[in-house]
Structure formats: structure tokens, C-alpha cells
Symmetry: C2
Subunit: 281 residues, 2 copies
């Protein structure tokens, strides 16, 4: 028997991955969780039938959503992660010497527990004493908390289901208000190659631009995400992610990476023309 | 009825594209040609069941295999294209003011005729008076010709079937001998994300490095190619593709591009760590 999982990225295209079987399936309060055992990508986490992460290529997403902003801010001490229940973003954040505290607010406990069991190398961020994990609605947390942060990372699913409010201007304003002077916000921002995501990108960058003085897109290759070309939005009160690259912190931390490096930091902000044009129309 | 074309990129993963139907199928002397009519990618050309180009994303490959070397050489007058029978590479080459003559040597006439019929906007390179099209074996041509070139572009299929000899050191040496002083060679070099292609990359760059004093890899996003991350090898006798970027020719030509631009020219040579490591082991 051959078992193939196929994710349609549009009505007319998709990715297909051979699976040895399913390791776990559960319907949580918020979404349907599945873990597949695959030859090519190791364990694969699906939420509502869409690939969230695989053991084989999660390093790209988690390194790129964290180290770019953390090495653009001169002294990021307090970090807030909205979503990111698999722990991979937290794992990368706490590696930075400057980071004293990282609060992770995940709405769905099933994501956290599943990651701990089936993705232990991703979930290892949870064992850091710098981390504080809260199982609650990120929007509610932002509204009610008085804590201030140097960096907010929105590590969300697509703008459907529980994550839809994380793409609204009201939410970005709440984030802005919770950021210290010089604070930054980073969010995953879909694929510029997928037609229905292009509209999401235009709306999202429009919303961010109404709140933050500086918003820049950067790119990374993530083979299991739609089209393989993925984007991130970096919104900032003050520091510019390319011009204010923190070379001394980068050298002093001296971390090892599988994707990120100081040249990638800058090159990721260079956009092909068809991507630039998304912002012109 | 739903018709889905699925290309396995390894034994365990692939891409799947919904097709309205097949427009053309033929077994040539060298390979099996298929043209699919698809919603997402327009017409899609398959050779031996593998995607060669689609109307929707061919611009990435054709811009990146041509403009990077052409804007790294101070005066590229004569260009040789080995393969490239769809005409897309020729289309981009002849746009450059400096180029006086471009010889295209394609082994399989069926590719040229199919492109002219089903990909007219790709095949438009064939109408340029600068182009000379020869239907013959590229290796034989290189061996027997005395013409010299400033740039040789190897626009080949994967190293199986008719293209296998195009990845050998002997062939690279023949190319080197046909290049003028300061000449360059560019070749598509597979995906660094696909395990069995990583060995091809190591062998290919090893072979090129035994012949050329300088060999550099650059990257582009091509969603219909395996993993979406594609690489190209730029081998050079003298000029460095980043340091010798020809800004004045770039400004003077003032061409419009969908992917390439002068920042992409440089950023494409920045490699993520896992790609750099392919060359270290």
C-alpha cells in the first residue's frame, strides 16, 4: 500500500508527500491536529489539513522569523510570541544572549502537547528558564496585559479560523502599544507566488503600514509551504532591519545556523520585481 | 472528471497540478514530449514526464540564467546556448544591446517546434535576426566548431538521458576552450534541497572547479521545479559575477524584468548555510 498526503495550495495545484502512516489525530477545540510519519520530511504536523511544520525543513521558518528581527534591534530583552505553539520560534529566541524573557501565548494546548511528544527537537524551547508559556487567546492577552516588549513575533497559521484576527489593523495597533520605543513586530506573511495570498499580502502590509512607520518584507525558501517561496513582514518603530543589522551581537552570540547568516539577513530583503509590484498596485 | 498530473521529485514527495487536458503528446528520437493545459500554470511542457517550463513561471528561469552572466561581463558579444530549445533563454539574451550573435544548439527539433506552437511568447527569441539555430548535438558542435564565444549557457534537462554528457568535466573543458579571454559559462545546477540532487551539485561544481578559476552558485525561486529552490552555476575565466556587475550596461539597456533586478543580481549569490555546506564536505 502507498499512502500519499496531498495538500492543495489552490484549486489547481498542490504538494504530495508519501506517508508511512498517521502517528496522531485529534480534533481540538480550535482545529484538527494530525501528525504524519513520512520518509522525506520526518514527522509532519498538519492543522486543518495544512502543513504547519516538518522535521526536515522547520529550521528555515524558525530561524528566519526570529534571527532577522533579533539582530536588527540593538538590545532585545523581552520578546512576545503570539502562536508558535510548536516551540520552534521560542527555541531560537532564547538562544540570544540579550533575551531575558520570552512569553509565548498559544491558544491551543493541543499544539504544545503534540509538539512535545512528536517534535521534541522543536519543542525544546519549552525547557528554557527564559520562557513563559500561556495557553490563551493572543488577542485577549495583548488587550489585557500591561507588559511591554521589544519584539512581538506573530507565528500564526493562515488568516482563516483562529488566526484571522491576527491580520487586522486593530490587532497591529494593540501590538504597537505593547512595544517599547524602538520595538519591532514580525509576522509570517504568506507566499507572493500564490494568487489568493497576494491579496492577503496587500491587505496585511497596508494594515501594518497604517500603524508602523516602517514595514519591510523579507523572503525565505520553505519547500513544504505553498510555492516554496515564503514571506515575512518586519514592522518597526525605529530600527531598520538591514541598515541597523547588529553585527557585534551577531559575532558575540556566535550561534550556529542551518539557514540564516549575516549575508542572508540582508539578501532576504531583496525582492524580485513581481514581488515588489505587489506593493505598487 | 478531475485530471491531476503528479511529478514525483523523489520517491516520497512531488508536485501535483490540475490539468484541463493534454494538448500534445509525442515521442521524439530523444525523449517523450507532453504539453498540458492547466488552470494554474497555463501550458506546461513536460519532457519524459518532468516539468520543463510553464507559461506562468518560466520568466524566473529564463531571466536568471541569462541576465546574471550577461551583466557580469563587460562586453558579451557572442553567446552560445546549449539546449534551450524552447527559445526562452534566446529571447532574453537577444534583448541585450551588446549581444551581436547568439547560437542555439538544440538536439531535439521537437522541442523547438512544440515551443513555437504552444509557447509562442517563449519561442519569440527565434524571430530575432541575432539568433542562429542549429539542430544538433551540443557536445558534437562544441568539439567541431572553431567559433569562440563570450558566454556559454547550458540550458539543459537533468543529468539523465540526452543531457548526461553536459555535466562532465570533459565537456566543461571543451566549453572553456571555446570561450574568449574573460569568457563565462552558466549552467542550471539542480536543487540544493533535494537529496539526490545534492550529489549532482557536488560533482558538477567539482568538475567545473577543475576547469575554471572561479565558480559561484546562485539561487532563484521556481515554484514548479523540485522544492521550489533552484540553483545555477556561474563559472568564469576572469570576471566575478558580483564584483564585476555591469551597472552602466544595466542602466543603458534599461530592460523591464519580472524577476531580475540589480539587487537580485547580487542577493542571488548569497547562500543559506545548508547550501554553503554542500561545498565544504
Amino acid at each position: 500500500m502507498e499512502l500519499w498526503y496531498t495538500e492543495k495550495h489552490t484549486e489547481g495545484r498542490g504538494i504530495t508527500i508519501k506517508a508511512k502512516g498517521t502517528l496522531y489525530q485529534e480534533k481540538s477545540e480550535y482545529q484538527e491536529m494530525t501528525v504524519l510519519d513520512t520518509e522525506d520530511f520526518g514527522n509532519v504536523m498538519l492543522l486543518d489539513g495544512l502543513v504547519m511544520l516538518t522535521q526536515k525543513d522547520e529550521f528555515v521558518y524558525h530561524e528566519m522569523i526570529t534571527h532577522i528581527p533579533l539582530y536588527s534591534h540593538p538590545n532585545p530583552k523581552k520578546v512576545l510570541i503570539i502562536g508558535g505553539g510548536d516551540g520552534g520560534t521560542l527555541r531560537e529566541v532564547v538562544r540570544h544572549q540579550s533575551v531575558e524573557k520570552a512569553v509565548l501565548v498559544e491558544i491551543d494546548d493541543v499544539v504544545i502537547e503534540t509538539a512535545k511528544k512528536y517534535f521534541p527537537e522543536v519543542a525544546e524551547g519549552f525547557i528554557s528558564p527564559k520562557g513563559e508559556v500561556r495557553v490563551e487567546d493572543g488577542i485577549k492577552y495583548i488587550k489585557e496585559s500591561n507588559e511591554k516588549f521589544d519584539l512581538i513575533i506573530i507565528d500564526s497559521t493562515d488568516p482563516i479560523g483562529p488566526a484571522v484576527g491576527l491580520f487586522h489593523q486593530e490587532f497591529y495597533q494593540l501590538c504597537y502599544d505593547r512595544l517599547n520605543d524602538g520595538g519591532m513586530l514580525v509576522a509570517q506573511s504568506e507566499s507572493p507566488f500564490i494568487p489568493h495570498m497576494q491579496q492577503v499580502i496587500k491587505d496585511m502590509y497596508g494594515n501594518l503600514g497604517n500603524v508602523f512607520p516602517s514595514v519591510n518584507m523579507y523572503l525565505a525558501f520553505i519547500p513544504t509551504y505553498p510555492s516554496g517561496l515564503w514571506s515575512f513582514a518586519c514592522a518597526s518603530k525605529k530600527y531598520h532591519p538591514v541598515n541597523d543589522f547588529q553585527e557585534s551581537a551577531y559575532n558575540s552570540d556566535n550561534l550556529s545556523f542551518k539557514y540564516y547568516n549575516k549575508d542572508v539577513h540582508k539578501a532576504a530583503f531583496v525582492l524580485p520585481n513581481f514581488v515588489r509590484e505587489l506593493f505598487e498596485k
